[in-house]
């Protein structure tokens, strides 16, 4: 398995030696960014692609951290030799977002002024802020222009923001299962998740890092809710139906009866081992705030100064970021006289399809990048 991937990789760290002015107006620093790179930056430094992770992803997008590692990076199917993001051709950069908990400065990091974790003293951040931090990393790596910025879901929001914030640096943008503004439904689900965390007594106003108990129950419920939105009725029906978990008939107690319950509980339980509750609060907030037409007056206006070639993809069964929201972006780009291509991919996997339907995506992305690369 390791052979078909970029192999053993290592997360690296870069600390930005100045304060970053956040969208809220606050100056914030120091910020350390965790990142990984795959493939080689060529002499002309024009083969770099930035991939951007979704809500709970991290810098580890491809390959393995050790020989014993069972799970590869989150987009291992898409990044590697001969894959959609071909590491034989491109230099792939992936970083953990600001506010995250996988190496980049976030609420669980130590505040140098107090010597304690930031907790909810951490400033509220936005998608634009995370992109600003990524730009510092790109500068540090000596890349002047990105051949592409690519991401699914919240990663797509960042890719959009890149194309808008730094038009001179972005040659193409690949936006997958994403939206130009989070819908009321999306905000609603995030609100349930945050409420689950905040109402967990172990949350303790965000100061739980040196305590024995962490808000694991709240965070796992947040994950369960989130997970439902990543699937769809068809996918759930296919995977679980009404099948019972380790029993032949319901036992008329409040214990777990159905497989789908057990699955969600498992997803919640494993999530708390890899994610920080406060990071979940901050990142979902950043996603809630994302609204390009609100910020720029209209979506067309938001795209006005972009120079990138856009590729937009949506999935038929994705009800969290449905095709209609992708088409909204396509329409605005066409109206703004920008170069855009669009595909709606048939898939029964719901929103999660961007992590699963790699064959079709590979075909489309390879065809698209081939041309961007030629120009």
């Amino acid at each position: 398995m390791i052979k078909q991937s970029v192999g053993i990789v290592e997360t690296k760290y870069y600390t930005i030696d100045k304060n970053i002015k956040l969208e809220s107006g606050e100056e914030f620093g120091p910020i350390t960014v965790a990142y990984e790179t795959y493939g080689r930056l060529n002499g002309k430094k024009d083969n770099a692609i930035l991939v951007l992770h979704a809500l709970t992803g991290d810098a580890h997008a491809a390959g393995y951290h050790s020989e014993k590692d069972i799970k590869p990076g989150w987009w291992n199917d898409m990044i590697g030799p001969g894959k959609a993001f071909d590491t034989d051709k491109y230099f792939i950069i992936s970083s953990n977002m600001l506010g995250g908990c996988k190496g980049t400065t976030g609420p669980s990091s130590i505040n140098p002024l107090t010597g304690k974790a930031y907790g909810i003293e951490f400033p509220v951040i936005t998608i634009e802020d995370t992109v600003k931090v990524q730009k510092e990393l790109i500068n540090y790596l000596g890349v002047k222009k990105l051949l592409s910025v690519a991401g699914g879901s919240m990663g797509g929001m960042q890719a959009l923001m890149w194309a808008i914030s730094y038009p001179e640096m972005v040659e193409s943008a690949i936006l997958i299962a994403t939206t130009s503004k989070l819908s009321a439904q999306g905000i609603a689900f995030n609100a349930v998740g945050r409420n689950a965390i905040i109402s967990d007594p172990d949350w303790q106003n965000g100061n739980y890092y040196d305590k024995e108990n962490k808000p694991d129950r709240g965070l796992s419920i947040a994950r369960m809710v989130g997970h439902i939105t990543y699937l769809c009725e068809e996918a759930m029906h296919k995977k679980f139906g009404r099948k019972l978990q380790n029993k032949t008939k319901p036992d008329f107690t409040m214990d777990i009866d159905f497989q789908v319950e057990s699955y969600l509980q498992h997803q919640g339980e494993v999530f708390v081992d890899r994610f920080d509750a406060n990071s979940y609060l901050y990142i979902t907030k950043a996603v809630d705030y994302f609204d390009l037409s609100g910020k720029y007056g209209s979506l067309e206006e938001a795209f006005k100064h972009t120079n990138a070639k856009f590729l937009i993809m949506s999935f038929t069964s994705d009800w969290l970021f449905p095709t209609s929201q992708s088409k909204e972006m396509v329409n605005a780009l066409v109206h703004a006289n920008k170069d855009v291509s669009f595909c709606e991919i048939e898939s029964p996997c719901g929103h999660d399809a961007f992590l699963l339907e790699f064959e079709t995506q590979t075909n489309i992305i390879k065809s698209f990048l081939k041309d961007v690369d030629n120009e």
Partner: protein, 207 residues
């Protein structure tokens, strides 16, 4: 489907005729663009800026491979994403007869394009007439290769039908090219009686 069939038979397409009709450096929207052959030719010969629309994802991928931009979509539901008169030409090549709502598609094309190029097989071509008359079956030909039960051509029409349609809707016909076997025929009868002697027609229209 037509495009694919014609290519597989090694038959000529009307692309070069269309290429001659459009002005260089123009903005072109190709509806039902297929795998993008026409747009590619126009890009190479006329240095146009083009965009394709097609319902089939494989065609979108084929366009991307050629370096063309294309949007997956159904032209029968309209061209909402396109602003009024935002393209110099909107092309509907060999597709009108396979749309579900040709009237609406034409109306949308004329809204979006300053000029529109429409081509379709003429169902009143003498060979087609003979086929129906003598065989008593739905005509099949080089450009109408399908059986009645699997044809995408659900709104077949004649050149006379289009003239009448254009008159009723105040559509201006700026140019008409009548062809047989993808060649412009010098044969005078084709010019005087196109509805009988032209196998195919290309119109440039505007409103």
């Amino acid at each position: 489907m037509n495009e694919h069939y014609l290519k597989s038979k090694g038959l000529h397409l009307n692309y070069s005729l269309i290429s001659k009709m459009v002005e260089g450096n123009s903005r072109i929207l190709d509806l039902g663009c297929g795998s993008g052959e026409l747009l590619q030719m126009l890009k190479e010969q006329k240095d146009i800026k083009g965009l394709g629309v097609d319902i089939d994802q494989d065609n979108i991928i084929a366009c991307l491979k050629k370096g063309l931009s294309a949007i997956q979509g159904d032209i029968d539901v309209g061209l909402k994403e396109f602003a009024d008169k935002s393209y110099d030409y909107v092309i509907l090549n060999q597709t009108l007869q396979s749309t579900h709502n040709p009237e609406y598609v034409m109306q949308e094309m004329l809204r979006v394009g300053k000029k529109c190029v429409v081509s379709f097989p003429n169902f009143a071509y003498w060979r087609v007439r003979c086929h129906l008359f003598f065989k008593g079956q739905m005509p099949k030909s080089r450009i109408l290769p399908f059986e009645w039960y699997d044809t995408p051509n659900i709104h077949l029409l004649t050149i006379s039908d289009f003239f009448e349609f254009a008159k009723k809707r105040n559509i201006k016909i700026l140019k008409s090219i009548y062809t047989t076997r993808a060649q412009v025929k010098k044969f005078p009868l084709t010019r005087f009686l196109p509805n009988l002697f032209a196998e195919e027609v290309i119109f440039v229209v505007s409103n």
